[in-house]
């Protein structure tokens, strides 16, 4: 399972970067979304996958069992997903506004401020 997810992370990163190399703004946005998801999934995998072992302390015990799924990594992803979602929503609004103002989504034509 870990290997499958690792490959998925790789594919997501590759697709994200490929999309970011394209010239349209919308593809740039999609690329950013893919890269963000790839990063989140990577944290999920990096903490190790433990099946069916919730981090719960049984009645009468003082410590969790020897093997348990690490909850912290999941808490980290949860935060990262929320942040990523908010930022992506903003980027979407920015892309829309950019198109409204400039009437183009070709990145090569959005270089007036670089001159």
């Amino acid at each position: 399972m870990t290997i499958v997810l690792a490959v998925v992370v790789g594919i997501l990163f590759a697709c994200g970067l490929y999309l970011m190399m394209r010239r349209t703004l919308v593809k740039l946005l999609l690329g950013l979304a893919l890269i963000g998801n790839a990063a989140n999934l990577m944290i999920f995998v990096s903490a190790g996958l433990t099946r069916g072992a919730p981090p719960l302390i049984g009645a009468g015990e003082t410590a969790p069992p020897k093997t348990y799924a690490d909850p912290l990594a999941q808490a980290l992803i949860l935060t990262a997903i929320v942040i990523g979602f908010g930022v992506l929503a903003f980027t979407l609004a920015l892309v829309r506004r950019t198109y409204q103002v400039t009437k183009t989504d070709d990145l090569n034509e959005l270089t007036t401020t670089d001159r």
């Binding site: 963000g36 990594a73 990262a80 930022v87 903003f90 980027t91 920015l94 950019t98 400039t102 007036t112």
Partner: protein, 496 residues
């Protein structure tokens, strides 16, 4: 007490969103909040000077399990100066900002930005640092594109895209770090890393962190988003960014490469050294070629990021101390220059430098303020840039790579040239016939000149009374290199 620098801007921002209808109430609230923030920052500075480092564990969770905030000397210094700069910029906004931007949440967003920056200076947890970075970023994204002019959205999407990539890399690096050592607490990390049998993976992670913080702080191959975007929003916004934003990246780099990533110092040092030298030279070369005043200043800003990272690369107590001093100087001085550029933009209705000239004859006071900033950023005595630059020189000569001093000299000379060019084209010479200056109402002029003057006095004062600041910076550098107090404050009485 330690939570106040975060809570004050947070509550200010929330109430500002409710006060969106009343411009007057917004102004009063944001000034009061910024004053309170500055007061708290100063009192924390005093507290840290007595205790060394102070810490707060949220919800009383024992560190390293809970989220901890720790303020050491470096953090306290940056917090106080950052708060001072923010106060100046927010005062300036009252005179210079147009009503629409004021109404659509400029003040609330700048409070959120201040919250994010304060959080990054205080936090003792690397994931928490990521969260504060994102808070800062989202506020700065909106500030950057607030108004939605063509130049703003064009600069804005570059800024957004590059910073989102850097956030993703940061997230990946944090995740892998957690996977390999099982902690994210700054005080806990060094011990855990030292206990690892094979540290080569941590070296790779360190490189990822160099890339992340390199994008945030605008290091050499990664800085192009900055001059593409910093000159597009109104003057107050770019001054706020120039004062606060890149410094957060440098701060994070100082924190992590003195305390956490110390496994392979030679490699990190040489990588950072090369990047710093290239940043200095390319930034300064870029500055000379610019047609727009604020673009020129943005390139100077980039070039001087190189000095601070050079201090980190040399990694002696003296070089770190000088770099910290330089950071303080840079925050105040860049903010001053960008505010001057904002006034120029306001007076002349946004013209390029070629179309300007002779402002010194009609607005001599503004010219004096600009010259003070220009002298300081070039490192002339007795202004604030002089002392840390000399310190950096001494540290470089004492280090293993003394020839780097040539790069510092070259980029200093190029900075002076760029400032001279700006001065010549904007303030000196005959005034073009078609150049009509906008008359400012006394109230607006007051709101714009007062904070700029205060910053100029700070730039002068911190150059003349350099001793206490230098002493504080060097103490902060010592604390970074021997983080015993930091660890004791953060981890408290937890048994290992």
């Amino acid at each position: 007490m330690l939570i106040l620098p975060i809570l004050i801007p947070l509550f200010a921002a929330i109430s500002l969103f409710f006060l969106v209808r009343s411009r007057k109430m917004q102004r009063v609230t944001s000034i009061l909040a910024s004053l309170a923030h500055f007061g708290v920052a100063v009192s924390l500075l005093v507290q840290v000077s007595q205790a060394g480092a102070i810490s707060l564990r949220l919800g009383s969770w024992p560190a390293p399990y809970g989220i901890a905030f720790t303020l050491d000397r470096m953090g306290a210094m940056m917090l106080a100066v950052g708060s001072f700069v923010a106060l100046a910029v927010i005062t300036f906004a009252m005179g210079s900002l147009d009503g629409r931007r004021e109404k659509f949440g400029y003040y609330a967003l700048s409070q959120i930005l201040l919250m994010g920056v304060s959080g990054s200076f205080i936090t003792a947890d690397i994931f928490n640092l990521f969260v504060w970075f994102e808070v800062t970023l989202i506020a700065s994204f909106v500030l950057m594109s607030l108004g939605g002019e063509r130049a703003q959205v064009e600069g804005g999407y570059k800024y957004v895209a590059l910073n989102l990539i850097s956030s993703s890399i940061f997230l990946v690096a944090v995740g892998l770090l957690y996977a390999s050592v099982g902690t994210l607490n700054f005080a806990d990390l060094p011990g855990r890393i030292a206990a690892l049998p094979d540290k080569s993976f941590v070296t790779v992670l360190g490189m990822l962190f160099i890339v992340t913080f390199g994008i945030k702080s605008a290091l050499f191959p990664l800085f192009f988003w900055l001059p593409a975007s910093y000159h597009t929003p109104p003057g107050v916004v770019s001054a706020l960014f120039a004062g606060l934003l890149t410094k957060v990246g440098i701060f994070a780099m100082f924190r992590s490469f003195t305390m956490v990533f110390v496994t392979d110092p030679g490699l990190y040092q040489s990588v950072i050294l090369v990047l710093a030298v290239l940043t200095m030279v390319f930034g300064a070369l870029g500055a000379i070629a610019q047609k727009d005043l604020r673009r020129l200043l943005a390139f100077i800003l980039v070039s001087h990021v190189g000095y601070m990272t050079l201090g980190l690369a040399v990694m002696s107590p003296h070089s770190l101390g000088s770099a910290l001093y330089y950071m303080v100087h840079h925050m105040v001085c860049m903010c001053l220059l960008f505010l001057c550029a904002g006034i120029v933009k306001h007076l002349t209705r946004n013209k390029t430098m070629h179309e300007l000239g002779g402002l010194a004859a009609v607005r001599p006071y503004l010219a004096i303020l600009f010259v003070l900033g220009g002298f300081a950023i070039s490192g002339l005595p007795p202004f604030s840039g002089f002392y840390p630059k000399v310190g950096l020189f001494q540290a470089i000569f004492a280090s293993e790579a003394p020839h780097v001093a040539w790069a510092v000299l070259a980029s200093s000379a190029l900075t002076i040239l760029a400032i001279l060019k700006a001065w010549n084209e904007v303030f000196w010479g005959p005034r073009p016939k078609d150049l009509e200056l906008v008359e400012l109402s006394p109230k607006r002029a007051m709101a714009m000149y007062l904070p700029t003057t205060v910053l100029a006095i700070a730039v002068m004062g911190s150059g003349i009374f350099a001793r206490p600041i230098a002493a504080w910076s060097h103490a902060a550098a010592d604390q970074l290199l021997n983080p015993i107090e930091y660890k004791r404050a953060t981890l408290g009485g937890v048994e290992e």
